[in-house]
Symmetry: C2
Amino acid sequence: METVNLEQLLYIIQPFLMIGKNKLKLINSLAQKKYRLKEQSFLAEGDKIVLEVLESEIKVKELFATPDFISANKKYLHNAALVFETTAAEIKKASLLKQPQNCLAICQLPSQPKLPSNPEGIFLFLDGIQDPGNLGTIIRTCDWFGMDYLFCSPGTADVFNPKVIQASMGSFTRVKIIYTPFDALSAYLQKTEIPVYGTFLEGKNIYTENLPDYALIVLGNEGRGIRKEVSDQISFPLNIPSFSQAEKKAESLNVAVSAAIICNEFTRKKFAIRNEN
Amino acid sequence: METVNLEQLLYIIQPFLMIGKNKLKLINSLAQKKYRLKEQSFLAEGDKIVLEVLESEIKVKELFATPDFISANKKYLHNAALVFETTAAEIKKASLLKQPQNCLAICQLPSQPKLPSNPEGIFLFLDGIQDPGNLGTIIRTCDWFGMDYLFCSPGTADVFNPKVIQASMGSFTRVKIIYTPFDALSAYLQKTEIPVYGTFLEGKNIYTENLPDYALIVLGNEGRGIRKEVSDQISFPLNIPSFSQAEKKAESLNVAVSAAIICNEFTRKKFAIRNEN
């Protein structure tokens, strides 16, 4: 019987561990929306996020993972249609991340969630948020504050952009994200008499206003704010005032920070958690 | 006399409008800290940010700008040692931004601000924040909440990283950012009896705690949180509770969002802006 040394063995096994050229090309293409639509797929990366996806209702078509990841997470693997054992080096080759981890999943693009049949609580409408990091962070914040839905104008960044998925840290699997023109949403919500708020420089002080338990709050694009056709439909303009006493100060807050302060103020008041001192 | 047609004229002028090869190389190198230190320079990009820099005490060594930017902002130009008129195409070539604008400034790396002689108010200490976008956003938030100082552990991202400058939207010219080991800061502040807070999963509810007007609040690294040697010195552990009622929910907030909610809660209470309903 011939013996095989370790070096030869690795040489024999390697081809099975490789992520093929066409697959690499496909993975890379999923950074672009047109290919996500064409392939009806999106990419989830990073151990924590892939595990969240495997535990969610999202269909994982193909999972590429290191032997360590596979043996540590056996109980979740049945949720992936295909599992390929591969190396960290191969994942690095395929990854769109700067610091690739131990797995990478090609997932089925889910269909858009339906509008809530009995909408209640606090909802955000994002009017053209462009930065994927901002969108992902806002999704994570909505999840934290127990907001089930997030509405986005069609011009807002795509939730299935890999950078959004990344920044949302798995929260995109829980928050129902609905892309809708503002008009359609507004017409739908009018039946429920949910008031429409928005942030403006000349709005009323969010800290001193009476905030309702039910509201839709509009946040504008990073540079140009809320579009006129949307702002025309906002009944309650709000403002987060600056506390800087300096002559020169920041002109605005980052939009994901504004979103967080809005969620904080509406939710804190809703739950009547107040400082009594 | 020979006449020159427009095409020839452009050909003649172009070399003067170009940003030279060595300069492009220098600009590019400023993305890296070691070259920023070697050249004692950093890069500011984007019209708004460059204007903020020109209005600040930062020394602009070289300003590259389009004729439009130059004619629109003549009154600020005397703050730049050298001004080079160039084209948008040349700026694009030099730029580290995805969407370059009309100017780009090579600035003198300023010396680190001194510790406040009479520290009062709310201060953050960032214990190893890695993401430049997060650091820049936190600087912008500090500016908004009128916080004059921001303390960072030596392991925190560098404020003069072009991505930090970008995300701070000019606020880095106003907030005094001091890199210091926690021990040194803590020893310094002990004289002033400013209490040290920090965010932990098992901390006390930030919404119901009595928060003081003077405090140092520690925020940890995106992945691993606050280092043990620092957390050992924190007297008041705080927690931002999640409002999600779901079984599966976000495990944490983005650190720039946590910083914003902390600034919001401490400052709001300090200014006694409460909802009376």
